[in-house]
Point group: C2
Chain length 230, copies 2
Amino acid sequence: MRLVIATCSVTYSGRLNAHLALATRLLMVKADGAVLIHSDGGSYKPLNWMSPPASMRVRDPDAEQVQAGIEQVWTVAAEKSDDILTILISEIHHDSSHQLGRDPGLVKDGVESDLQRLLAEQIERLGAGHSLIRREHPTPIGPVDLLAKGPEGTVAVELKRRGDIDGVEQLTRYLELLNRDPLLAPVAGVFAAQQIRPQARTLAEDRGIRCVVLDYEDMKGEDDQAPRLF
Amino acid sequence: MRLVIATCSVTYSGRLNAHLALATRLLMVKADGAVLIHSDGGSYKPLNWMSPPASMRVRDPDAEQVQAGIEQVWTVAAEKSDDILTILISEIHHDSSHQLGRDPGLVKDGVESDLQRLLAEQIERLGAGHSLIRREHPTPIGPVDLLAKGPEGTVAVELKRRGDIDGVEQLTRYLELLNRDPLLAPVAGVFAAQQIRPQARTLAEDRGIRCVVLDYEDMKGEDDQAPRLF
DNA sequence: GTTTTTATCTCGAGG
DNA sequence: CCTCGAGGTAAAAAC
């Protein structure tokens, strides 16, 4: 990884065109050819970048560019498209290279699949008298997260970490399909999430879909497997 | 901006829990307290990070951590939530700080608003005999991108850079509302995008919505305003 | 301030 | 290889 602090201007041409006026920034060049241009603020997204795989070419400025005070011209080209990032460097304040090696990568806990496993094990969180039929019940338009038997019949469960309007739409499509199957119908809908947005709740309830808010930490506490990832 | 190349392990605790095993990485500390942890590959997303505003505390390792070869412990806490990033540093290979100043920011050209302006000007790209009624036609659930008059009546246009299934759902909701208005009905739907995904096209056509693929570069070439942002 | 929409989204899983 | 859905989505625009 090469780290350069430079006063530069940048132009990107690809799916859109974008430009950065002259200022001092960090240029990060990764081993796979990726280039990231960061300012000293904002979150993790760079001001501008090139995704890997890419290759960089450094050349001297032409006469006009020399006049404009440009010392180096970096051209970063994507290998799989014709996206091009051009960096005009006026001054380099720092330049260092470092050997990092491969990264073992991030281990996560608490994503939707974990939530699904826990709710499958603790299906009574949908209400007393529920039992699991199956996870990932297949339909022609994709799998339903959970299918369960409740006191009032079969229920299809759509599970989200954050319950949004498109999750309700998704469940609605599933329910329409499931209720066409005479062996399964009638199937009621349950929209279960750690957090349900008001608009999603309103839409769901208008359609007769029940909303259930889940407490992940609580469910994890009750988890008999209690896996320790780290 | 502070740049540190260090052999470290990292733990994040917040909306989920995540862990990075011991390896050598770049730690970037920004002026607003943001911290980014990058490996030497992958696109612009860091392996792990803390969004600003945040504050960092550096302390010495406890006895057990010293035994494990840890030299420093960085604790990065978000100011607006209880998210915490803990970085256990075993070895620092590089450490430098740099003054960057405020960035003038990115200027873009080619986003959805540009596409909408161009299609409004070149509405005949929907087919011969189309004329624009208005852009951003208001409805109770949000504005319809374009409303036009075609040879066979009024059409509502939903515009996307990438045409996905949720765009079709959105247009469907608009059409249902617009067709309730006796002054407007009947209104047909057109789903226009630079790229339309097969599933979205299938759903749209099932619902009698016409799909139109737009060529932005072509439209830009025909643009009489020809704005030069840079 | 909140909510909604966009994104050069990135990233991973599954066919 | 492509397609699809999730994301600690982030970030900008709309309200």
